[in-house]
Symmetry: D2
Subunit: 283 residues, 4 copies
């Protein structure tokens, strides 16, 4: 079975569901899963429809055209993606390798429905790991004087390699607008703190100083405001007074893996819509 995901958003109005379902039915697309969400504050409507497209009675292009016509007529935003066209993922890393390993291993086990196209790092250290998993590794040095230049090199590489989205696997660098604007809501970062608390540098040390009893990690889309992009996933674990900041760093690794890998899975499966700084994530 081959499947596809259609996502729709628009101001809420009557009959939109029926009209969209009709188009799918006309094309012999069999609905597998349909979820809806409504933002009560401003009456915005969101729909996620997953359908079996293995027995379409027309070209995919024709289905797309019909959706385009209808959207122009009644006014809605839409995206359509087919599962057999895997998204291409680029991973950015620095020296810490735990998130990288988690992505590479979960991909190897068939849990991540993407092509891992390449790894970019500002250090040469993890080249052997990339090779062990057979993924091309690009070393793009980056320091405070060449940040724009380095990000431009990365963007050029990503465009050339037809990269769809990017996972910052503890990349530890603040991206310039060059990179962020090239991939809006397509760069997933993991912050090793429970946002919105503990933004910025050394969040575990901030958590220690405050005496929290849970530490957290957050994955989010990177935008131009540091650690303020739309949150995708969060996890917390229990700590006690006996944890030093270093112990928290240690304890935090598994959480960071989970929130980043979960976010990559959700993005790869087209289950996320970003709306007004928040994420709507269909399950």
């Amino acid at each position: 079975m081959s499947s596809a995901v259609l996502k729709i958003s628009c101001p809420d109005r009557k009959g939109i569901v029926a009209e969209v379902c009709q188009i799918l039915a006309d094309c012999s697309a069999n609905i597998i899963d349909a979820q809806q969400h409504r933002e009560d504050l401003d009456s915005q409507f969101f729909m996620y429809v997953k359908f079996d497209c293995s027995e379409l009675n027309c070209e995919r292009e024709l289905l797309e055209n019909r959706l385009k016509e209808k959207s122009e007529l009644i006014g809605f935003n839409w995206t359509l993606s087919f599962k057999d066209q895997k998204k291409r993922l680029a991973i950015m890393v620095s020296k810490y390798d735990h998130c990288l390993y988690d992505l590479l291993l979960k991909h190897k086990y068939g849990e991540l429905d993407v092509d891992i196209a390449l790894i970019v790092s500002n250090h040469p250290d993890l080249k052997a790991t990339a090779e062990h998993f057979g993924v091309p590794y690009f070393h793009i040095p980056r320091n405070k004087d060449n940040r724009e230049q380095a990000d431009q090199i990365a963007v050029d590489l990503f465009k050339e390699q037809k990269i769809d989205f990017i996972a910052m696997a503890r990349y530890m660098q603040i991206l310039t607008p060059i990179l962020i604007q090239a991939y809006p809501n397509k760069i997933i970062n993991v912050h090793h703190g429970f946002l919105p608390a503990f933004k910025g540098a050394k969040p575990y040390h901030q958590a220690y100083a405050k005496g929290v009893k849970l530490i957290g990690s957050t994955s989010h889309y990177a935008n131009e405001e540091l650690d303020m992009g739309p949150i995708i996933d969060q996890v917390t674990v229990r700590v006690s007074h006996a944890y030093s900041a270093d112990d928290m760093v240690r304890k935090g690794r598994d959480m960071e893996n989970r929130v980043l890998t979960n976010a990559v899975k959700a993005h790869a499966a087209d289950r996320i819509i970003v709306y007004k700084g928040r994420t709507i994530i269909f399950s």
Copy 2:
């Protein structure tokens, strides 16, 4: 078996454990549990010793005198409490009753080793509930014009009733220094947010607006800075984009119960030491 808890804190130095254990051994106090903690940042030492005092070979007063002498000689802070002298708890409530029920029920089941001496409220609403559990209920009206006065009435009542510590079971009022200073590190508040994020009013609405994927609750000692006192316990639960702020309020109740009741248990069992705005909680 009757037990007692000795807590000690002082700048770290050699031999303190041995000297204290010697005093206990001399009095035939059998150590049941001994935990230590050291703050590396400023070399402060903390010790918790629980011992069987059912076969002491001397009066409790004599043991206390020996500890006092030793503490003056070598310099340490100490507290000693006996389990058979139950602490007296006052509960402060407003109109929400879930935390109140949790405390009353857990007490009924024998899980809270305290005497629930009385309930104070700024509303008359929960009087029937207090009566159902056989606990005296005091209605002390409170508004923005009589806050000092109301808190003074409460303090007088607490002093008269020999209250040892206080649980604010969603009391929803900002205490004046009159009450806070009368019971330093003895007033436990529950905040329905994951501190230090989402301080102050309507934390679930703040969480909703930020689009977090976990919501939390925090119990802490009330001090003069709103929602900034030493954290005692924290819990989080998962939410999604589909949760309205009201859904979060609903989901939050069980968390609020847990963090408040856990904090009351830990305080009642003399397992907490406050140091520089953080809590050390022996297990």
Copy 3:
């Protein structure tokens, strides 16, 4: 807005979704949520559709008739329920009251979308609690000699009171077929162990003896095989060697509350289908 839930099950075949959606569309029923499930082992298909029925263009009965006709034509099982027709819940208790309190309180807070019609107990002890919440309390004594008789009295009472489903809130009695057969897949029991381990009596003592590091609770539909009915919800919490069986009993209460209350919520919202001894629970 008033909503309704339609549940369908049948051997999987093409077009069923479209045909059902068409009926709903024809009646101006606006789909809010649609979930599907397919059992791969025997190709069984299940669908859950929640729709807005506040602007139906026909009588509810007409919609029902059209579903009936279609189901006879193409062969599927279906149930339709309207949210404004609240289900009537009976609670059965013995002497333990924690699950009872959780149900009564969550109902009071508006979290349980049912009418709590009555409480039945084999002991008089919890009458005052029932009265405190304004729920009728029926004491039906039950011992090993009158079990059939007692269950018949209960069934008669439930029929007279138009009870839709039953929560055994730690009722601690083995029901006879008289009661079980009168309410198939409509009696929710809570077992204080992690089924299928630790069936039968004293599960916490069994867990202690085995030295487990997690204890669990399970809610399930009662059937004629003890503790073997379809599982609805399960929760575990961490314990250590230091927990006695009694400590586990204490720790278990909150879990028992959660699994029972969650199960009652899911049943009340018509989100459960039972198939071959397992539950399909739409979210």
Copy 4:
């Protein structure tokens, strides 16, 4: 600072703590942490003492002699281990590599206080992974006809390599008594099910068939009864009806990593005592 761990067990009697502490004090061993446990069923006493041994005023051997004398005089079992003498771990694997990676990575990050001496496998597949981490890899083929022989080869290798304990990282083989008896309570296995439910083969398939809502993993010491050895750690995660057995396998990997790595950490730190088929694990 260099530390040591002393573990003691014996029938409970007065004064044992004092006598042991005295020996430590006489040798200038500074107690860092002391935990006790008492089995109420048969009055057995257990003690864990961690002490700073960096300023002992005597040879370690003398301390050991004094403990030996005292244990013979008053009757207790004891073990003493020094943190600077790292335990040597052997890892046994088959073809699944997730638990292996977790152990190798956590060791690399400094979380596992052991020397990973070697990896043994019944397949050649993971040799490249072993080499990537610089750990010797021994391929010992094993089939149903040569099990005793293969296990004898393993035992000989382990003895020669001075292996202290063994982690079966999803080794997927039933050990013969030859190996089990050579390392009693020193072989840690991970079972991909929530013991004592779902023993033996294909536990996730058993869990699926039963319709559980949580799946679990268990680490335990291997003994001669399959999947019945003393439990060390357990973790559960939530599943739904939508999980196939294969989905559970996928979801289970992170749990299996956690319970095995946690067990290896606890064993490495000398925090475990096995008593009557249960583990006492100091924290």
